[in-house]
């Protein structure tokens, strides 16, 4: 029997690692991720979770240890946030370049200075070019399901890339919600034992990280790009297959809500997407034809889905809890880039909201939507990027 537990998303992430039968965990504490690896440490030490837990001395070492473990053929896991993630930047390139299917929850937290431990997606989104697949979750159930799905995806021989599963600081990490944890045998059926295509093996020695000359470097990078393209096809398939097994489906690449007849579409990420559904319902009652599309996967970016959504919509209002300084919000940028080759494009306005953990409630989103609807009726936007509720 599937079991329903009420727990924080961090503990749920730990249970997902256990359910995925992860073999090696290497981690370093950092708020607000710490309780993921603390719970794992408890489970491993008590013998409930058959894995090796390495208490490393920094996140840089955590990722290096994961690379070693994955290269030796183990299903590998770590978790981090903010400064820990950006300290990992160098070995993250090595994890993807070595084609190792490591899965890592990232508790999205603001980067300093000034010190701030609250929600902000600039930490993970600024890692977009590391070759990692990036998932963003909207509730605790999705955190569990996505970790299982991520292993299924990453270990597929058409992918062989690492993935991060992002959950916003405190809004998810420390918030209790009921989550259904399926039977272990059923999870084992869905996600069989990891069988790597190559491993470090004394009887069949191979060498990682050798010189790759200009003659072949591009070809290896092209293969990574191909895998990212493959992921766009596999992610929705795996999500569907998961739902057949366990009942939950999270929208594949983009979680769409009332988008079919919508003139105005809110493009969001993470928990802002859950709040956006409330705003959509409220505004629909007022007669606005509005929908919400929550970007579930940021890398590979679902540009084909964005183009499909753009076919019938008059306007996109993009809400980013992060900023690429000198340009605009990450999702706004990618949305525009996805549409520039299209002839018929909706209006696009970017909204920067909730940086450093400021609340983005359905009320904030309704305000954004009303401003956007006004611009949509006029047929032009007044501002390319709006900083919502900025104290000036």
């Amino acid at each position: 029997m599937a079991q329903t537990v009420i727990d924080t998303a961090n503990h749920i992430a730990a249970y997902a690692a256990k359910a995925a039968r992860v073999q090696v965990i290497a981690a370093y504490p950092i708020t607000p991720q710490t309780s993921i690896v603390e719970r794992i440490a408890e489970l491993v030490e008590s013998g409930e979770f058959d894995a090796e837990y390495i208490r490393v001395e920094s996140e840089h070492s955590a990722m290096a240890a994961c690379i070693g473990a994955a290269a030796a053929g183990a299903r590998t896991f770590t978790a981090t946030a903010a400064h820990g993630l950006v300290l990992m930047h160098e070995p993250m390139h090595w994890a993807s370049g070595s084609r190792l299917p490591i899965v890592m929850p990232v508790a999205n937290r603001a980067l300093g200075p000034g010190w701030n431990i609250w929600a902000d997606s600039t930490d993970s989104m600024s890692q977009r070019d590391t070759g990692w697949i990036q998932f963003y979750c909207a509730d605790n159930q999705e955190v569990f399901d996505t970790i299982i799905q991520a292993y299924k995806l990453c270990e597929n021989e058409r992918i062989l890339l690492p993935a991060m599963v992002c959950l916003e600081a405190f809004i998810l990490t420390h918030t209790y919600m009921p989550v259904k944890i399926p039977d272990q045998e059923k999870i084992d059926d869905f996600l069989p034992h990891y069988k790597p295509n190559w491993i470090l093996d004394v009887s069949n020695p191979l060498s990682h990280g050798n010189i790759l000359s200009p003659e072949w470097y591009m070809e290896f990078r092209y293969m990574m790009q191909e895998s990212m393209e493959n992921a766009k096809q596999l992610i929705p398939e795996i999500d569907k297959e998961y739902s057949k097994h366990f009942g939950f489906e999270h929208g594949g690449l983009v979680d769409k809500y009332k988008c079919d007849d919508a003139d105005l579409i809110l493009l969001t990420v993470g928990t802002i997407g859950s709040e956006a559904k409330v705003a959509v319902d409220n505004l629909r009652r007022e007669g606005l034809k509005i929908g919400s599309a929550r970007i579930r996967v940021f890398r590979p970016f679902p540009k084909e889905e964005i183009r499909k959504l753009a076919e019938n919509a008059q306007m996109f209002a993009v809400i980013d809890r992060g900023i690429s300084f000198g340009m605009e919000g990450f999702i706004a940028e990618e949305t525009k880039a996805s549409l520039c080759s299209q002839n018929d494009r909706p209006l696009i306005a970017g909204f920067i909201a909730g940086l450093g953990g400021r609340d983005v409630t359905f009320k904030t989103i309704e305000k954004i939507a009303k401003k956007s609807a006004e611009w949509m009726q006029r047929g032009r936007i007044e501002k390319e990027t709006v900083w919502v509720d900025l104290k000036e």
Binding site: P29, I30, V37, E38, E42, E45, R55, E57, H83
Partner: protein, 282 residues
Amino acid sequence: MTVIQEFEKHPLAKYLRAERFPHIWCEGCGDGIILHCFVKALDDLAVDIDKFVVVSGIGCIGRAAGYVKCDSFHTTHGRPIALATGIKLANPKLTVAVLSGDGDLFAIGGNHFIHAARRNVDLTVICSNNFNYGMTGGQSGPTTPLDSYTTTTPYGNIEHPFNLVHLAAAAGSVYVARWTVLHVRRLAESIKKALRKKGFKFIEVISPCPEIYGRRNKLGKAIDIMKLYRQISEIRHGYDPAKAEITREKIVVGEFIDIEKPTYGELLQKQFIKIQQKLSEG
């Protein structure tokens, strides 16, 4: 009387930022005592606070950089010594002190520690050692004793801890001392001595963490931990730091190393003059 007015009556208040108080440290934490000894040393030495910089990293004691009323930098995890080295070399007239914890200085930042000690950069490094990562809730770290309990070693730690004074001495520190927060007067004197001396100076301060490490290891209340310090600490100046391992039965404290050696800044200056002379000679 407002809280700030009350605060400013304290004789050492001029070294602290009243608006930052109350501090974040738990009841019974040793970090307040360390900060007190530190500012008392500044006061006793009549340090020119305009030429004094405090750098800290991440961890409970890291907040100290925000509490002292001088130029200060609360930097990223593990990097205070690297950052302090930059400050000292950019402006050698400044006196630079690092206040940080065992996790920050010896795990994620361990490399910076040994290399600054090796180069003999003119810095005073004070480490609050509470045997775990207190700020994130008590995980095991580089000084966690064998067999002790933390959130990541719920059945006891199996990793050997660093003997920090031995590490500091082996890496080349010119001054190495260890105290507990019970040794208030000696600690303040030790900080004064370190601040007056040139080169890489290291003071380890054993500090109670009654709320987290203490609770998990059943060490009792803060007062019990202080009593334990009185019971098991033994002052032995000049003792071989290699033999000064901390055990459940004994904490050897005192000044272990006090030597003279040219600092990195002095050698840099000398090299600069040498090259200038060579160039002018053609």
